[in-house]
């Protein structure tokens, strides 16, 4: 069974995003970039399926600038077999990303697409659901447990109020939530080995091209800032302030 894992290069999750003064976006110049944490979890899950003998090949695809090769290389060092980079310097919106990935899926014919539930830059939480719709496949989002057997996957999902378990027929799209697994650190020998693995560099036109886009960013602004309040000396003073000053209890 082939598993396809789309991954995204984003601002490192430990870096605080700063809005550009001209309000056109977030300043990414000289900022540390990494694989989106949810994508890393998806790669780990795919590699584990391979180690269990369930997956036979793990293919990683990324859409982004030439530097996104490094992100793919990280996934190859974790154990994926080969990579595809769809090179573009634009920042395509989720619908366009889903369309490109659907074209990749048609060419690669995976039985399972495992991907992060959201990227921590746009925070859309949309591509997996859209991809599964475009392919006409079932979807199991926000996964905290995935068991594949034969032509089916049993997926436990993190939902409001608890957990829901679904069974989907393959092929399917599964999106990873935080607690699906803890991604491994690539070992040095595996990092070296990853350097010899193949990354095919393609363009959006190889997969149907990029559309005009339906959304236009008017501006990006800083959220209203909260200012630090006062320190209280003890619990009694805290309760007094909450009661009389804030009026919340």
């Amino acid at each position: 069974m082939k598993v396809l894992v789309p991954v995204k290069r984003v601002i490192d999750y430990n870096v605080k995003a700063r809005v550009k003064s001209d309000q056109t976006g977030v300043d990414l110049a000289n900022v540390k970039m990494s694989m989106n944490p949810f994508c890393e979890i998806a790669v780990e899950e795919a590699v584990r399926l391979q180690e269990k003998g369930v997956a036979t090949e793990v293919v990683v695809v990324s859409i982004g600038p030439i530097q996104a090769q490094e992100t793919i290389r990280t996934a190859l060092a974790m154990g994926a077999e080969r990579g595809i980079l769809i090179q573009t310097d634009t920042d395509p919106e989720p619908l366009e990303v889903a369309k490109l990935l659907a074209a990749v899926a048609k060419a690669e014919e995976p039985r399972l697409i495992l991907m992060g539930k959201q990227a921590i830059d746009g925070d859309n939480n949309a591509v997996g659901q859209m991809l599964s719709a475009l392919l006409g496949w079932p979807q199991a989002t926000f996964a905290s447990k995935v068991e594949v057997s034969g032509d089916k996957a049993k997926v436990t999902r993190e939902v409001d109020g608890g957990l829901q378990t679904l069974e989907v027929d393959l092929p399917a799209v599964v999106t990873a939530d935080l607690r699906l697994n803890e991604p491994r650190y690539a070992s040095l020998p595996n990092i070296m080995k990853a350097k010899r693995k193949t990354i095919d560099i393609k363009t959006p036109d190889d997969f149907g091209g990029l559309g005009e886009g339906h959304l236009k960013v008017v501006k990006v602004t800083e959220p209203p800032k909260r200012v630090a309040g006062v320190k209280v000396e003890n619990a009694a003073e805290l309760v007094a302030k909450l009661k009389t000053e804030a009026g919340v209890i």
Binding site: V26, G162, H214, V218, K231, N234, L242
Partner: protein, 314 residues
């Protein structure tokens, strides 16, 4: 132009998030209908019919809809959208699951987690864990939008909309419900609670989390939350998680105990009206957003807080 609000409910009760989403919908159009899709949802539909400003309540039922299966909801919604310009639903795990699927089937760009309706085509939404706000303009004639309910006031009651049944659609032939584990609790729901008491990694164990956080929450009639670190460590269940990837809350009072205040946690609670932080580390980032900070070990501070609340008649 008409807007369809897809109601958030558990088949028994209409959630407050639906009322808030109706407020967002009314900022777009005066013609707002509500769809209640589920199983055994007569009571929910009756509650929806009472929302002021709602024109009509549509109902549709099947087992798969009752289990909130995204494929079933989408199959039901796509034909219905022929009669609507926009679809709005709260950004719950159900809404986030089906809304992008509907958008893709309609070939439109979904707009996630809307905080503000600027006009019928322009919306404000958080990006980068709420560290930036993006104003987006959509050129789609039909729009599919998830709404961050905490950013809107609930719509009033007193309405009396007509209720009309619609087709449930073909269901989800490739997806089967296996089971669910929903945590039963007498406490208010985290997302809509007026007071939230959250515990962090400092608790050190699940036993300590229960011992310290829950009695305080119960004393205040509060919901219980947790930081990602506490959930990852197994001190609290996943649905307690407040943060960028967990629940976003905006209660009247948020009490953070033993939580350092990682960016992703702040993203989930910084719109609370009043924030209280109790942490023994005076340099913890949580104090930068707290209205009232108490630098103390929770082990002594929480019992003292319980006593002070009792003394204050709580």
């Amino acid at each position: 132009m008409a807007v369809l609000v897809v109601a958030d409910h558990d088949n028994a009760e209409l959630k407050d998030t639906t009322l808030k989403t109706v407020t967002a919908a009314l900022a777009i159009s005066g013609d707002v209908d509500v769809l209640v899709a589920g199983k055994g949802i007569a009571a929910v539909a009756a509650q929806a019919a009472k929302i002021a400003g709602v024109r009509k309540v549509l109902t549709t039922e099947s087992d798969a809809l009752g289990q909130h299966i995204a494929e079933a909801l989408s199959a039901c919604l796509v034909p219905l959208m022929a009669g609507y310009d926009d679809l709005l639903t709260p950004a719950t795990t159900v809404g986030k699951n089906f809304a992008p699927r509907v958008a893709a089937l309609l070939d439109v760009a979904p707009i996630s987690d809307v905080l503000e309706v600027v006009d019928a085509d322009t919306f404000v939404r958080p990006i980068y864990a709420g560290n930036a706000l993006e104003t987006v303009h959509s050129s789609d004639a039909k729009k599919v939008i998830t709404v961050r309910a905490t950013a809107f006031k609930p719509a009033e009651g007193g309405g009396s909309a007509a209720i009309e049944a619609v087709d449930a659609g073909p269901g989800a032939p490739h997806t089967r419900f296996v089971s669910e584990e929903i945590v039963k609790s007498d406490r208010p729901e985290l997302a809509g609670a007026k007071i939230v008491v959250s515990g962090g990694r400092a608790m050190g164990s699940a036993e300590e989390f229960h011992r310290v956080i829950e009695p305080l929450a119960d004393k205040l009639g509060a919901a219980v939350g947790a930081s990602r670190a506490a959930v990852d460590a197994g001190y609290a269940p996943n649905d307690y998680q407040v943060g960028q990837t967990g629940k976003v809350v905006a209660p009247q009072l948020y009490i953070a105990i033993g939580i350092s205040g990682a960016i992703q946690h702040l993203a989930g609670m910084k719109d609370s009206k009043v924030i209280v932080a109790i942490n023994k580390d005076a340099d913890a980032p949580i104090f930068q957003v707290a209205d009232y900070g108490l630098v103390a070990d929770y082990k002594t501070a929480v019992p003292e807080l319980m006593e002070a609340l009792t003394a204050a008649g709580k």
